[in-house]
Amino acid sequence: MPDCAVARFEMAEYWHINPIRTESIRKYLELRPEAEVVLLGEIAEKDFVNAGKGSSEVKNALKRLGVDPDTLRRIAVAAYEAEINVAAHSRGGRMTSMIFDDMIHIVYEDRGPGIADIEQAMTPGFSTADDLVREMGFGAGLGLPNIQKNADGLHIHSEAGSPTIVEIITYFI
């Protein structure tokens, strides 16, 4: 295989962290404490009827914990966008929400096909959505940028042809 093709299939990683959270997130990832509450949700490919149920469950849990309304909305937006992304762009996957007393860490793992160019995917307006997805009113190319805007930490791990992992971390206070 020619060199350029190999380069395109190399593992890619993207991190975005709100500067004031750098220290807390670094510490958290180092210690990886066990979450107090874990919520699991399956996301089926192109199932726009049910996509959103997982983030809705997260929202309800956070309301029960008394998370501040503005923070709750930021988490809801990010979680919903990421869930729709899995339904719209992958072969389906699952979301795992780990809830702590000061933050939430949500991990989305899909079954491929991976993101070829993450930097491009982060550009507002860029979209690879197919016609079905656009017909459903999604695929405007604002998903990932919107997640980034609403989360304290965003981590994307992907390579073309492989599953993608998207992680969102947001603190309650």
Partner: protein, 424 residues
């Protein structure tokens, strides 16, 4: 807990003698406020939003709506009735709206005003509010008191989106209080202003209004009760002739779909939603910023809007059809818009920022709350997941929550109990 219970007035009352413990009400309650324990239903007052779903579903007259007795108007020197727009849809075609309006004078009122009088003004005010608050997307309508309370209880993050101006009948009340004091030379406490309302949420709103700066109405009568009394005097009224003028064009404020159509214009994109389940779905989408393309959302707890309220006598679809026909060919009649506008500019219709009434929280302290949630999830695994409601809690999750909060025990689960009995 007792103090919180007392804090909230409700227009819904349980008649224990009639309750069979069937759990129908438990399952329809949108805020999971009702439990059946020892075969009797009880309502958690801090959760109840007075939507009236339980009143509608109860087959045993065990949950009854409360409203005021008509006698109370006698305490006042000058008695005013404000009729909700849905009143006009209640009477069969042989009874004209002007006649049903005049009948109220016969029942003892000195003046009868219509919610419909201020519809034109409301639309202008709502549009202006939306344009002045472009940073809020979407603005949520405030005229359904059950929806306002639903947002306080379950969607506190959306409180800033609520239109922070009085609802039509309260706008009219403010206007009438000023006018009557002036014209009739009366003191404020000599004037009694009463609403004739289609739902229990409005009764509660009269007795415990949200976000008001000062005293508004003095009582609320159910359309159903008034309807009965009007039927008794209507023949006499019809024979007497000389009927009052009415504001038929504005009656459509009772219909959620039409309100949205009226507010909608070139720069305002409006959406209409009715029925409490639909309202909750839409609010959840608003929370996710999924409906930011709308500038205004009309939200009504009852089917078709206020014509669906549980204190009406007529079916909501029949009432809607009548009102649409009445308003269609009615002439435009604008009342006192200048005076209303003056009051509006003075800030008379503004409301205090609405406070959340977060009933969802498991504990004030997040550390304790998360421990409780952990325990809830442990119990949830044990429970059958049928959501049958036979335990008296609406879902298995709610039972698990009740167990952890000390309001129930695992033994309340009928399904588990059956399994234990079989195993022994």
């Amino acid at each position: 807990m007792q103090e919180i219970e007392k804090k909230y007035y409700h227009a819904i009352q349980i008649v224990s003698e009639n309750c069979t413990g069937c759990t129908a009400c438990v399952r329809v309650c949108p805020t999971e406020a009702i439990r059946v324990r020892e075969r009797k239903a009880s309502i958690d007052n801090s959760r109840c939003i007075d939507c009236g779903m339980c009143v509608e579903v109860c087959q045993f007259h065990a949950i009854i709506p409360r409203s005021d007795p008509l006698d109370m108007i006698r305490k006042y020197k000058y008695k005013v009735a404000i009729i909700s727009a849905s009143y006009a849809g209640q009477f069969t075609e042989d009874i004209s709206y002007p006649a049903s309006k005049k009948a109220l004078i016969e029942l003892g009122f000195d003046e009868v005003a219509e919610e419909a009088m201020v519809t034109g003004f409301m639309i202008t005010m709502i549009r202006e509010y939306i344009r002045q608050n472009r940073h809020i997307r979407p603005v949520l309508s405030s005229n359904c008191p059950a929806v306002v309370r639903l947002i306080q209880v379950k969607f506190p993050s959306l409180l800033p989106n609520i239109l922070h101006q009085e609802a039509p009948m309260s706008v009219l009340t403010r206007f009438l209080r000023d006018k009557i004091q002036r014209e009739e030379n009366l003191k404020d406490d000599e004037i009694g202003i009463f609403l004739i309302v289609p739902c229990v949420a409005h009764v509660t709103a009269v007795h415990q209004p949200e976000g008001v700066y000062r005293h508004l109405q003095d009582g609320a009568f159910s359309i159903g009760m008034i309807y009965g009394k009007v039927r008794e005097v209507i023949r006499k009224v019809q024979e007497s002739g000389d009927l009052p003028e009415t504001y038929d064009q504005g009656l459509t404020i009772a219909l959620s779909g039409v309100e949205a159509e009226m507010v909608e214009c070139d720069d305002i994109n409006a959406l209409s939603v009715n029925g409490i389940e639909n309202v909750m779905n839409i609010l959840s989408k608003v929370e996710d910023h999924y409906l930011d393309q709308y500038d205004y959302v009309v939200l009504r707890s009852c089917t078709n809007g206020c014509v669906g309220g549980c204190l009406n006598v007529e079916n909501p679809f029949v009432a809607m059809s009548r009102i649409k026909k009445m308003s269609k060919n009615a002439p435009t009649k604008e009342v006192v818009i200048d005076e209303l506008d003056t009051l509006y500019r003075r800030g008379e219709f503004a409301v205090v920022p609405l406070e959340p009434r977060s009933i969802m929280e498991l504990d004030k302290d997040i550390k304790s709350a998360i421990q409780k949630m952990k325990k809830i999830n442990e119990f949830l695994i044990m429970l059958p997941g049928l959501n049958c409601g036979a335990c008296g809690s609406p879902t298995c999750y709610a039972l698990a929550e009740d167990i952890v909060l000390g309001k129930a025990t695992v033994d309340d689960c009928v399904s588990l109990l059956k399994r234990y009995v079989r195993d022994e």
